[in-house]
Amino acid sequence: MPGLLSLLRRLRKPQQGEARILVLGLDNAGKTTILTKLSEEDITTITPTQGFNVKSLSHANFKLNVWDIGGQKAIRPYWNNYFESTDALVYVIDSTDQKRMEETGFELGELLEKEKLAGVPLLIYANKQDLLHALTPAEVAQMLNLVQIRDRQWQIVACSARTGDGLTEGLEWLVSMIK
């Protein structure tokens, strides 16, 4: 799996300037693991995020800042500190956690109503596809009511942060959407 940097190098339409990507989702969804994998670093020592992680990548005249925020319930109220000047939103789902599909759909619904995130393109990672009970992207899309979204472009991508499958497909689209 090629990492973020090689993705930036391969972009068909080279981007200019600076962009900010915000990564959100419930705790345990795999946000930090995804970002770590994309940075081609070791994923075995990851612990729940108490605040946030940020990775910055540059290529040519383009700088990409990716913010990964902790998803534990107690931290969620602070998500809105990070909305300012977000160019693209990544929302990570644990596709095996059927019990919390309602909760994560609810949190996502709240996010999409935020004015500061209006019109921002949305990438959903249906993560943990390496596990047996993972729901398919279409199932997740139905359960999260993505089909009701009309005010922005969205994509849902099946991925596994553990194996790296699917990670760059989604991100390539998202980066190409950044204005």
Partner: protein, 254 residues
């Protein structure tokens, strides 16, 4: 008297402003996103990344979209939903059918290996009652490739020709199949838009226009019904989540 005139004026005005909604479906790699870009006048020679969800584009006058002419010329906008065609995302298509006035089914006419799959997928979509009678445009795309099936062969292979399996599903709807090349640089006229594509769109808009008195109220009431259903689901979900949270908080206190 004034009120009457005012109402009349309003009626004419609302008749002048129309918004059509169409959905682009078809197998992955058929060329839906490329078609959508082409219709928006964007060169799409560099190839598109696959869609795993939902793109929406709005076409207006600047894209050569119009309905009717003369004094009663209308302002028309067309919203296109471009959906992902991959196997594991196709399941969402049906959720858009209630609110569309017409359907564009894109086929890679050069991919003979997958033409049967394309036929089955089309047959499946047309079974949805929400699409009954709605105008259908099939685009036999990628005509620039030497192996591409021409319109007539594509119609046959897709089972749309009379006497074949799907002729029944077509029912009374307005139907057309058009060969085209959505890739800009490869289309005829030295890298300009493929005129067949624009003409095909005009045909679809015309077909929607002639069915409008039936389509418009039907779509409107279907959308209202869908919205009510969605709102109800959302309210139920909110209640469930709130209860879940309460329970969890209580457990933590104990």
């Amino acid at each position: 008297m004034f009120g009457l005139l005012h109402n009349l004026f309003k009626a004419i005005k609302s008749r002048r402003e129309r918004r059509y909604t169409v959905v682009l479906i078809g197998l992955d790699n058929a060329g839906k996103t490329t078609v959508a870009r082409h219709l928006r006048g964007e060169a799409a020679s560099a190839g598109a990344t696959p869609t795993f969800g939902f793109n929406s584009d709005v076409l207006g006058k600047e894209h050569g979209v119009s309905a009717g002419g003369g004094v009663f010329s209308r302002s028309l906008t067309v919203e296109m939903f471009d959906l992902g065609g991959g196997k594991n995302i196709r399941g969402i298509w049906g959720r858009y059918y209630a609110e569309v006035h017409g359907v564009v089914y894109v086929v890679d006419a050069a991919d003979t290996d997958r033409i049967e799959e394309a036929a089955a997928c089309l047959a499946d979509s047309l079974k949805d009652p929400h699409l009954d009678g709605k105008p259908l445009l099939v685009l036999a795309n990628k005509q620039d490739l030497p192996s591409a099936m021409a319109e007539a062969d594509a119609a046959q292979a897709l089972g749309l020709a009379s006497g074949s399996t799907m002729a029944g599903e077509l029912g009374e709807r307005a139907f057309n199949i058009v060969g085209c090349t959505a890739l800009y640089e490869l289309s005829e006229e030295g890298g300009r838009a493929d005129p067949r594509l624009r003409r095909a769109l005009r045909w679809l808009l015309g077909a929607i226009g002639s069915d409008w008195t039936q389509l418009a109220p039907r779509v409107k009431s279907d959308v209202v019904a869908q919205k009510e259903k969605d709102a109800k689901e959302l309210a139920e979900r909110k209640a469930r989540v709130a209860k879940m949270r309460e329970e969890r908080a209580r457990r933590q206190e104990e």
